[in-house]
């Protein structure tokens, strides 16, 4: 599924205000209408958009919303939803043009993450399935990670993520996979995330911690930007910085250590012991 449309036939279901103040003393009108029906409609379309990005590998998606003859186009990403001004689709050609453009656009422009490719090498596939304990029916994807320091490409085979932080509409949308390392044939952890702009890249933090000799952190393999960015458009240029949506960069990180969750401790001693060694990892102290 590429995108979706939602049609309503009642003025009260309108999820967005027209920018007209309701009362004369209102100076600023919120764009999102605060009526119950309006909120429900917003929730409904957000749910649909979220279902797409939670079940597919997407960078963004498009949808249209029609209320009577009024239409709006919406662009959904990890940063925010961008909504166009209202137009009458029975009079202007924009909706038709949108469909024409969408159907002629490349897969990547339509918002599919084309860096998840299907595997082609049968023997490699077999080895990956054995290493990751997968059934023959489980989907496999090949992912490339371009390290931003060494510049080297490395390849990994993954199936479903074992985390579910990506099911929320906005934010980092982190997916963690158990991955088969095509180079070393080991099982590693691949983290596919949308890192927030201005924060230090996790890969460089790992590099620095290892350089400082910090114990009790994961072994680092590779990390780098994928090349997708969201939330960075010139339409926010006249919005004050605090009100702008966050800019996210698609980022991948591979680490060599796969542990078990702290809540799965096999004794309370292990619980405290693991927490204590993580405490050392938190902050390097040259303990004797």
């Amino acid at each position: 599924m590429t995108g979706f449309g939602e049609l309503k036939n009642e003025a009260r279901d309108e999820p967005f205000t027209l920018g007209q103040p309701l009362y004369s003393f209102d100076t600023e009108v919120p764009f999102e209408s605060d009526t119950m029906c309006g909120r429900d409609t917003r929730g409904q379309i957000t749910l649909y958009a979220n279902a797409i990005q939670a079940t597919q590998f997407r960078t963004h998606s498009f949808s249209f919303f029609i209320n009577r003859t009024n239409c709006r186009l919406i662009h959904w990403s990890r940063s925010c939803a961008i909504v166009t001004e209202e137009f009458d689709y029975t009079k202007s050609p924009w909706l038709a043009e949108f469909f024409w453009r969408l159907s002629h656009a490349s897969k990547a422009a339509r918002g599919f993450d084309t860096t998840f490719t299907s595997t082609t090498n049968k023997t490699e596939e077999k080895k990956a399935r054995a290493a990751l304990h997968l059934k023959n029916t489980d989907a496999l994807y090949k992912v490339v990670v371009n390290d931003d320091v060494t510049g080297k490409d490395t390849f990994y085979i993954v199936s479903k993520p074992f985390t579910n932080n990506h099911i929320f509409p906005v934010g980092r949308g982190t997916r963690c996979f158990k991955a088969y390392d095509c180079q070393t044939r080991a099982v590693v952890l691949l983290k596919d995330t949308w890192r927030v702009d201005k924060y230090e890249k996790e890969g460089s933090v790992y590099r620095e911690l290892h350089k400082a000799g910090v114990r009790n952190i994961a072994t680092f393999i590779a990390a780098g930007d994928v090349g997708h960015v969201c939330g960075e458009t010139e339409i926010f240029s006249d919005v004050p910085e605090v009100k702008r949506p966050r800019v996210h960069f698609h980022y991948r990180l591979v680490i060599g250590t796969i542990g078990t969750s702290l809540t799965q401790f096999s004794s309370t001693w292990q619980l405290v012991s693991a927490t204590t060694s993580a405490l050392i990892g938190n902050f390097l102290f040259a303990y004797p």
Partner: protein
């Protein structure tokens, strides 16, 4: 002693992994260099955006996983206090307490256990309940009734220490007797040494190490007490087929 100048800032049960008997800290996405003295301006806006729907609070200026954020950061709406080492350390303590209440064998009734766990989750009460827990220091841990004595003992020691940060009775008494000693108690909570040494000494107990008191799935009451009426109604009416499916699945898994 050399120090890495990086602060993790998101210590949580999900970010500590067990590898053998040791643990590793993962997810360094939110970390900050210690030498950056003030909070970065965009961090303030980050929290504003994420929690802008919470009307009772003007501005929340913490980052991390809510359940484990230090009480003083949760209370800090004026942006005066900047997340520092002491806050990360307190998060480790919250992780241990939360795990002890939820998964370690203890004497809490299901109702009390749910109450404690809800306090960790509640946006409204977490700060105050954390402060209250610390103020009662070792008595708070005693009330959990942990079956594993050394675990209880080490948590009691830690809570007595952190009680000073939130003005426990002991801190007030000490302050009257010796102002300097009271301040020293506060300072030791700001570096790793004290907490690390306390934990390390406790872990030397070989009898405890040999015990196999793993995770227990304890009973927790499920209720809708914290939902608003509108949320409850919606939960019922939105997708009845889905609800039925969920209920029948739950029944099946209970039988199995």
């Amino acid at each position: 002693m050399t120090k890495a100048k990086i602060l993790h800032k998101d210590i949580s049960s999900g970010n500590i992994l067990i590898v053998g008997d040791a643990g590793i800290l993962i997810d360094w996405e939110l970390c900050r260099r210690i030498d950056t003295e003030t909070a970065r301006s965009y961090e303030k806006t980050v929290s504003l955006f994420t929690f802008s729907t919470i009307a009772w609070s003007d501005c929340l200026v913490y980052q991390g996983t809510y359940q484990f954020v230090s009480a003083r950061l949760l209370l800090n709406t004026t942006q005066e206090h900047v997340h520092n080492v002491g806050d990360d350390l307190e998060s480790f303590v919250h992780v241990l307490t939360w795990a002890a209440i939820k998964y370690a064998s203890n004497e809490l009734t299901p109702a009390n256990r749910s109450h404690h766990l809800k306090n960790f989750d509640s946006v409204q009460y977490a700060a105050f309940s954390k402060v209250e827990f610390f103020q009662r220091d070792m008595l708070a841990i005693e009330s959990i009734g942990l079956k594993q004595q050394p675990l209880s003992a080490v948590l009691e020691a830690i809570y007595t220490g952190f009680g000073h940060r939130y003005g426990s009775l002991e801190h007030k008494k000490l302050k009257k007797l010796n102002q300097q000693a009271a301040e020293a108690e506060l300072e030791k909570l700001e570096t790793h040494d004290w907490l690390y040494n306390t934990l390390r000494d406790a872990l030397e107990d070989s009898e405890w190490k040999a015990a196999t008191d793993g995770r227990v799935n304890q009973e927790v009451l499920e209720d809708d007490k914290y939902l608003t009426n509108r949320q409850k109604n919606r939960k019922k009416s939105m997708i009845p087929e889905y609800e039925e499916e969920l209920n029948s699945n739950a029944k099946r898994s209970r039988r199995g």
